[in-house]
Symmetry: C2
Subunit: 181 residues, 2 copies
Amino acid sequence: MPTPFTVSETIALLVRTPATLNTLLRGLPDTWTAHNEGPDTWSAFDIVGHLISGERRDWIPRLQILLQHGEARPFDPFDRFAQFEESQGKSLEQLLDTFAELRKENLAKLQALNLQPKDFARKGMHPSLGPVTLSELLATWAAHDLTHLHQLSRVMAHQYREAVGPWSVYMGVLKCDGHSG
Amino acid sequence: MPTPFTVSETIALLVRTPATLNTLLRGLPDTWTAHNEGPDTWSAFDIVGHLISGERRDWIPRLQILLQHGEARPFDPFDRFAQFEESQGKSLEQLLDTFAELRKENLAKLQALNLQPKDFARKGMHPSLGPVTLSELLATWAAHDLTHLHQLSRVMAHQYREAVGPWSVYMGVLKCDGHSG
Protein backbone atom coordinates (compact mmCIF):
# COMPACT_ATOMS: atom_id res chain seq x y z
CA MET A 1 0.00 0.00 0.00
CA PRO A 2 1.23 3.55 -0.70
CA THR A 3 2.42 5.34 2.43
CA PRO A 4 0.86 8.64 3.58
CA PHE A 5 2.09 11.75 1.83
CA THR A 6 4.80 13.86 3.48
CA VAL A 7 6.51 16.95 2.12
CA SER A 8 9.91 15.78 3.33
CA GLU A 9 9.75 12.55 1.31
CA THR A 10 8.63 14.46 -1.75
CA ILE A 11 11.51 16.90 -1.37
CA ALA A 12 13.95 14.00 -0.84
CA LEU A 13 13.16 12.85 -4.37
CA LEU A 14 12.86 16.29 -5.97
CA VAL A 15 16.25 17.39 -4.66
CA ARG A 16 17.99 14.35 -6.19
CA THR A 17 16.65 14.50 -9.74
CA PRO A 18 18.94 17.20 -11.20
CA ALA A 19 22.08 15.49 -9.88
CA THR A 20 20.80 12.11 -11.04
CA LEU A 21 20.27 13.37 -14.59
CA ASN A 22 23.59 15.19 -14.49
CA THR A 23 25.40 12.00 -13.45
CA LEU A 24 23.70 9.96 -16.15
CA LEU A 25 23.78 12.42 -19.05
CA ARG A 26 26.68 14.87 -18.78
CA GLY A 27 29.35 13.94 -21.30
CA LEU A 28 27.41 10.94 -22.59
CA PRO A 29 27.80 10.48 -26.38
CA ASP A 30 25.09 11.93 -28.64
CA THR A 31 24.07 8.37 -29.53
CA TRP A 32 22.34 8.26 -26.18
CA THR A 33 21.30 11.86 -25.63
CA ALA A 34 20.43 13.41 -29.01
CA HIS A 35 18.24 10.70 -30.54
CA ASN A 36 14.56 10.07 -30.00
CA GLU A 37 12.17 7.20 -30.74
CA GLY A 38 11.01 8.50 -34.12
CA PRO A 39 8.80 11.34 -35.40
CA ASP A 40 7.10 13.41 -32.69
CA THR A 41 9.03 11.79 -29.85
CA TRP A 42 11.52 13.25 -27.39
CA SER A 43 15.27 12.81 -26.93
CA ALA A 44 17.10 13.07 -23.60
CA PHE A 45 17.88 16.65 -24.58
CA ASP A 46 14.18 17.38 -25.10
CA ILE A 47 13.24 15.77 -21.79
CA VAL A 48 15.65 17.93 -19.77
CA GLY A 49 14.27 20.99 -21.57
CA HIS A 50 10.74 19.94 -20.59
CA LEU A 51 11.76 19.57 -16.94
CA ILE A 52 13.12 23.13 -17.08
CA SER A 53 9.75 24.35 -18.42
CA GLY A 54 8.07 22.71 -15.44
CA GLU A 55 10.34 24.53 -13.02
CA ARG A 56 9.60 27.86 -14.69
CA ARG A 57 5.87 27.64 -15.25
CA ASP A 58 4.28 24.59 -13.67
CA TRP A 59 4.89 23.44 -10.11
CA ILE A 60 5.75 26.44 -7.96
CA PRO A 61 3.72 28.93 -10.02
CA ARG A 62 0.69 26.64 -9.66
CA LEU A 63 1.32 26.21 -5.94
CA GLN A 64 1.37 30.00 -5.59
CA ILE A 65 -1.91 30.34 -7.49
CA LEU A 66 -3.47 27.65 -5.29
CA LEU A 67 -2.33 29.36 -2.09
CA GLN A 68 -3.44 32.81 -3.20
CA HIS A 69 -6.66 32.07 -5.06
CA GLY A 70 -7.80 28.57 -4.07
CA GLU A 71 -10.25 27.20 -6.59
CA ALA A 72 -11.29 30.66 -7.77
CA ARG A 73 -8.53 31.03 -10.35
CA PRO A 74 -7.57 28.03 -12.51
CA PHE A 75 -3.89 27.33 -13.04
CA ASP A 76 -2.46 28.62 -16.31
CA PRO A 77 -2.36 25.87 -18.96
CA PHE A 78 1.09 24.32 -19.33
CA ASP A 79 2.77 24.02 -22.73
CA ARG A 80 4.28 20.52 -22.95
CA PHE A 81 6.23 21.47 -26.06
CA ALA A 82 7.81 24.78 -25.04
CA GLN A 83 11.26 23.17 -24.87
CA PHE A 84 11.45 22.76 -28.64
CA GLU A 85 11.80 26.53 -28.95
CA GLU A 86 13.40 27.35 -25.62
CA SER A 87 16.22 24.78 -25.82
CA GLN A 88 17.35 25.89 -29.27
CA GLY A 89 21.04 26.77 -29.47
CA LYS A 90 21.75 25.41 -26.00
CA SER A 91 23.93 22.44 -25.08
CA LEU A 92 22.73 19.56 -22.95
CA GLU A 93 25.23 20.66 -20.31
CA GLN A 94 23.67 24.14 -20.22
CA LEU A 95 20.22 22.60 -19.80
CA LEU A 96 21.42 20.38 -16.96
CA ASP A 97 22.89 23.41 -15.19
CA THR A 98 19.71 25.44 -15.67
CA PHE A 99 17.52 22.61 -14.40
CA ALA A 100 19.69 22.26 -11.29
CA GLU A 101 19.59 26.00 -10.56
CA LEU A 102 15.84 26.34 -11.04
CA ARG A 103 15.04 23.23 -8.99
CA LYS A 104 17.23 24.52 -6.16
CA GLU A 105 15.48 27.89 -6.21
CA ASN A 106 12.05 26.26 -6.31
CA LEU A 107 12.76 23.90 -3.43
CA ALA A 108 13.94 26.89 -1.39
CA LYS A 109 10.61 28.57 -2.15
CA LEU A 110 8.73 25.42 -1.16
CA GLN A 111 10.60 25.05 2.11
CA ALA A 112 10.07 28.72 2.95
CA LEU A 113 6.30 28.11 2.82
CA ASN A 114 6.69 25.66 5.75
CA LEU A 115 3.61 23.72 4.67
CA GLN A 116 1.90 21.60 7.31
CA PRO A 117 -0.38 18.55 7.02
CA LYS A 118 -3.39 20.84 7.56
CA ASP A 119 -2.49 22.55 4.27
CA PHE A 120 -2.47 19.34 2.22
CA ALA A 121 -6.21 19.39 1.51
CA ARG A 122 -6.27 23.02 0.32
CA LYS A 123 -7.65 23.10 -3.17
CA GLY A 124 -6.78 24.67 -6.48
CA MET A 125 -8.35 24.42 -9.91
CA HIS A 126 -6.59 22.56 -12.71
CA PRO A 127 -7.64 23.93 -16.12
CA SER A 128 -8.72 20.50 -17.38
CA LEU A 129 -8.70 18.08 -14.39
CA GLY A 130 -10.84 20.31 -12.15
CA PRO A 131 -10.29 20.58 -8.37
CA VAL A 132 -6.97 19.26 -7.09
CA THR A 133 -5.36 19.42 -3.67
CA LEU A 134 -2.07 20.91 -2.59
CA SER A 135 -0.64 17.50 -1.70
CA GLU A 136 -1.68 16.11 -5.08
CA LEU A 137 0.18 18.95 -6.78
CA LEU A 138 3.35 18.29 -4.77
CA ALA A 139 3.15 14.51 -5.24
CA THR A 140 2.70 15.03 -8.97
CA TRP A 141 5.80 17.20 -9.12
CA ALA A 142 7.80 14.19 -7.84
CA ALA A 143 5.93 11.60 -9.91
CA HIS A 144 6.51 13.78 -12.98
CA ASP A 145 10.27 13.52 -12.42
CA LEU A 146 9.86 9.74 -12.35
CA THR A 147 7.66 9.58 -15.43
CA HIS A 148 10.37 11.38 -17.35
CA LEU A 149 13.15 9.21 -15.90
CA HIS A 150 11.04 6.29 -17.10
CA GLN A 151 10.70 7.89 -20.52
CA LEU A 152 14.41 8.75 -20.63
CA SER A 153 15.50 5.18 -19.95
CA ARG A 154 13.13 3.95 -22.67
CA VAL A 155 14.34 6.51 -25.23
CA MET A 156 17.95 5.60 -24.51
CA ALA A 157 17.30 1.86 -24.67
CA HIS A 158 15.59 2.37 -28.03
CA GLN A 159 18.97 3.36 -29.47
CA TYR A 160 20.14 -0.24 -28.85
CA ARG A 161 16.95 -1.90 -30.07
CA GLU A 162 18.76 -3.55 -32.99
CA ALA A 163 22.13 -3.92 -31.28
CA VAL A 164 20.87 -6.32 -28.59
CA GLY A 165 19.77 -8.88 -31.21
CA PRO A 166 17.75 -11.79 -29.80
CA TRP A 167 18.01 -10.44 -26.24
CA SER A 168 15.29 -7.90 -27.11
CA VAL A 169 12.70 -10.42 -25.94
CA TYR A 170 14.07 -10.15 -22.38
CA MET A 171 14.32 -6.34 -22.29
CA GLY A 172 11.04 -5.08 -20.86
CA VAL A 173 11.94 -1.50 -21.65
CA LEU A 174 11.83 -2.33 -25.38
CA LYS A 175 8.22 -3.44 -25.03
CA CYS A 176 7.08 -0.19 -23.41
CA ASP A 177 4.67 1.49 -25.79
CA GLY A 178 5.53 5.08 -25.08
CA HIS A 179 2.63 5.88 -22.75
CA SER A 180 4.92 8.31 -20.97
CA GLY A 181 6.23 10.17 -24.02
CA MET B 1 17.67 4.76 -36.96
CA PRO B 2 19.94 3.17 -34.36
CA THR B 3 23.59 4.10 -34.79
CA PRO B 4 26.27 1.42 -35.33
CA PHE B 5 27.53 -0.32 -32.21
CA THR B 6 30.76 0.86 -30.60
CA VAL B 7 32.36 -0.39 -27.40
CA SER B 8 33.21 3.13 -26.27
CA GLU B 9 29.57 4.27 -26.35
CA THR B 10 28.52 1.14 -24.48
CA ILE B 11 31.15 1.77 -21.82
CA ALA B 12 30.11 5.44 -21.59
CA LEU B 13 26.72 4.28 -20.37
CA LEU B 14 27.90 1.33 -18.26
CA VAL B 15 30.37 3.48 -16.35
CA ARG B 16 27.67 5.98 -15.35
CA THR B 17 25.02 3.61 -14.00
CA PRO B 18 26.43 2.97 -10.51
CA ALA B 19 26.91 6.68 -9.82
CA THR B 20 23.49 7.46 -11.26
CA LEU B 21 21.81 4.98 -8.94
CA ASN B 22 23.93 6.16 -6.03
CA THR B 23 22.88 9.77 -6.65
CA LEU B 24 19.22 8.85 -6.90
CA LEU B 25 18.95 6.29 -4.12
CA ARG B 26 21.51 6.87 -1.36
CA GLY B 27 19.80 8.33 1.68
CA LEU B 28 16.39 8.36 0.03
CA PRO B 29 13.58 7.47 2.48
CA ASP B 30 12.37 3.87 2.58
CA THR B 31 9.06 5.02 1.10
CA TRP B 32 10.86 5.17 -2.23
CA THR B 33 13.46 2.43 -1.91
CA ALA B 34 12.00 -0.40 0.19
CA HIS B 35 8.57 -0.81 -1.38
CA ASN B 36 7.60 -2.75 -4.47
CA GLU B 37 4.56 -2.91 -6.73
CA GLY B 38 2.86 -5.80 -4.93
CA PRO B 39 3.40 -9.56 -4.58
CA ASP B 40 6.26 -10.97 -6.67
CA THR B 41 7.55 -7.57 -7.72
CA TRP B 42 10.83 -5.82 -6.98
CA SER B 43 11.76 -2.80 -4.86
CA ALA B 44 14.65 -0.44 -5.61
CA PHE B 45 16.65 -2.49 -3.09
CA ASP B 46 15.89 -5.69 -5.03
CA ILE B 47 16.82 -4.08 -8.34
CA VAL B 48 20.26 -2.99 -7.13
CA GLY B 49 20.82 -6.51 -5.81
CA HIS B 50 19.91 -7.93 -9.22
CA LEU B 51 22.39 -5.61 -10.94
CA ILE B 52 25.07 -6.94 -8.57
CA SER B 53 24.18 -10.51 -9.57
CA GLY B 54 24.69 -9.53 -13.20
CA GLU B 55 28.14 -8.17 -12.47
CA ARG B 56 29.11 -11.38 -10.67
CA ARG B 57 27.67 -14.03 -12.96
CA ASP B 58 26.28 -12.63 -16.19
CA TRP B 59 28.06 -10.15 -18.43
CA ILE B 60 31.81 -10.60 -18.04
CA PRO B 61 31.61 -14.32 -17.21
CA ARG B 62 29.56 -14.86 -20.36
CA LEU B 63 31.95 -12.75 -22.41
CA GLN B 64 34.82 -14.91 -21.15
CA ILE B 65 32.96 -18.11 -22.09
CA LEU B 66 32.24 -16.68 -25.53
CA LEU B 67 35.88 -15.74 -26.11
CA GLN B 68 37.22 -19.07 -24.86
CA HIS B 69 34.67 -21.53 -26.18
CA GLY B 70 32.67 -19.79 -28.90
CA GLU B 71 29.39 -21.58 -29.54
CA ALA B 72 30.72 -24.88 -28.18
CA ARG B 73 29.88 -24.17 -24.56
CA PRO B 74 26.57 -22.49 -23.70
CA PHE B 75 26.61 -19.72 -21.11
CA ASP B 76 25.61 -20.76 -17.61
CA PRO B 77 21.92 -20.00 -16.94
CA PHE B 78 21.44 -16.80 -14.96
CA ASP B 79 19.32 -16.73 -11.81
CA ARG B 80 17.13 -13.61 -11.95
CA PHE B 81 16.12 -14.04 -8.32
CA ALA B 82 19.48 -14.61 -6.63
CA GLN B 83 19.33 -11.18 -4.96
CA PHE B 84 16.50 -12.24 -2.66
CA GLU B 85 18.96 -14.45 -0.80
CA GLU B 86 22.20 -12.57 -1.47
CA SER B 87 20.99 -9.13 -0.38
CA GLN B 88 19.65 -10.35 2.96
CA GLY B 89 21.01 -8.42 5.94
CA LYS B 90 22.62 -5.78 3.74
CA SER B 91 21.76 -2.10 3.55
CA LEU B 92 20.94 -0.33 0.30
CA GLU B 93 24.11 1.70 0.81
CA GLN B 94 26.18 -1.49 0.99
CA LEU B 95 24.58 -2.75 -2.21
CA LEU B 96 25.27 0.54 -4.02
CA ASP B 97 28.93 0.34 -2.96
CA THR B 98 29.23 -3.28 -4.07
CA PHE B 99 27.61 -2.57 -7.42
CA ALA B 100 30.03 0.32 -8.03
CA GLU B 101 33.07 -1.78 -7.12
CA LEU B 102 32.07 -4.75 -9.27
CA ARG B 103 31.14 -2.60 -12.26
CA LYS B 104 34.49 -0.82 -12.04
CA GLU B 105 36.35 -4.13 -11.94
CA ASN B 106 34.34 -5.53 -14.83
CA LEU B 107 34.86 -2.48 -17.04
CA ALA B 108 38.60 -2.74 -16.37
CA LYS B 109 38.43 -6.37 -17.55
CA LEU B 110 36.47 -5.35 -20.63
CA GLN B 111 38.91 -2.58 -21.54
CA ALA B 112 41.88 -4.90 -21.02
CA LEU B 113 40.47 -7.15 -23.75
CA ASN B 114 40.88 -4.28 -26.24
CA LEU B 115 38.06 -5.60 -28.41
CA GLN B 116 38.00 -4.48 -32.03
CA PRO B 117 35.15 -4.27 -34.56
CA LYS B 118 36.37 -7.53 -36.07
CA ASP B 119 35.51 -9.24 -32.78
CA PHE B 120 31.90 -8.01 -32.72
CA ALA B 121 30.54 -10.89 -34.78
CA ARG B 122 32.19 -13.62 -32.70
CA LYS B 123 29.56 -15.95 -31.44
CA GLY B 124 28.58 -17.58 -28.20
CA MET B 125 25.67 -19.81 -27.21
CA HIS B 126 22.90 -18.50 -24.98
CA PRO B 127 21.25 -21.35 -23.05
CA SER B 128 17.77 -20.45 -24.30
CA LEU B 129 18.16 -17.82 -27.05
CA GLY B 130 20.71 -19.80 -29.08
CA PRO B 131 23.61 -18.18 -30.96
CA VAL B 132 24.37 -14.58 -30.00
CA THR B 133 27.22 -12.29 -30.97
CA LEU B 134 29.79 -10.54 -28.82
CA SER B 135 28.40 -7.10 -29.71
CA GLU B 136 24.87 -8.24 -28.84
CA LEU B 137 26.12 -9.35 -25.42
CA LEU B 138 27.81 -6.01 -24.75
CA ALA B 139 24.83 -4.00 -26.04
CA THR B 140 22.53 -6.04 -23.82
CA TRP B 141 24.66 -5.30 -20.78
CA ALA B 142 23.97 -1.56 -21.36
CA ALA B 143 20.31 -2.03 -22.32
CA HIS B 144 19.85 -4.15 -19.18
CA ASP B 145 20.96 -1.17 -17.06
CA LEU B 146 18.32 0.90 -18.82
CA THR B 147 15.56 -1.69 -18.48
CA HIS B 148 16.14 -1.66 -14.73
CA LEU B 149 16.32 2.14 -14.55
CA HIS B 150 12.98 2.04 -16.35
CA GLN B 151 11.66 -0.48 -13.84
CA LEU B 152 13.08 1.51 -10.92
CA SER B 153 11.35 4.73 -11.96
CA ARG B 154 8.07 2.82 -12.34
CA VAL B 155 8.37 1.10 -8.95
CA MET B 156 9.12 4.42 -7.26
CA ALA B 157 6.27 6.24 -9.04
CA HIS B 158 3.91 3.46 -7.91
CA GLN B 159 4.42 4.62 -4.32
CA TYR B 160 2.66 7.90 -5.27
CA ARG B 161 -0.09 6.27 -7.32
CA GLU B 162 -2.78 7.43 -4.89
CA ALA B 163 -1.04 10.62 -3.80
CA VAL B 164 -1.17 12.26 -7.24
CA GLY B 165 -4.97 12.08 -7.33
CA PRO B 166 -6.52 13.04 -10.69
CA TRP B 167 -3.08 13.72 -12.22
CA SER B 168 -2.58 9.96 -12.57
CA VAL B 169 -4.15 10.18 -16.05
CA TYR B 170 -1.19 12.30 -17.21
CA MET B 171 1.55 10.14 -15.66
CA GLY B 172 2.57 7.66 -18.31
CA VAL B 173 4.74 5.77 -15.84
CA LEU B 174 1.59 4.79 -13.92
CA LYS B 175 0.17 3.14 -17.03
CA CYS B 176 3.23 0.94 -17.58
CA ASP B 177 2.17 -2.66 -17.13
CA GLY B 178 5.35 -3.99 -15.62
CA HIS B 179 6.79 -5.63 -18.73
CA SER B 180 10.24 -4.91 -17.36
CA GLY B 181 9.73 -6.24 -13.86
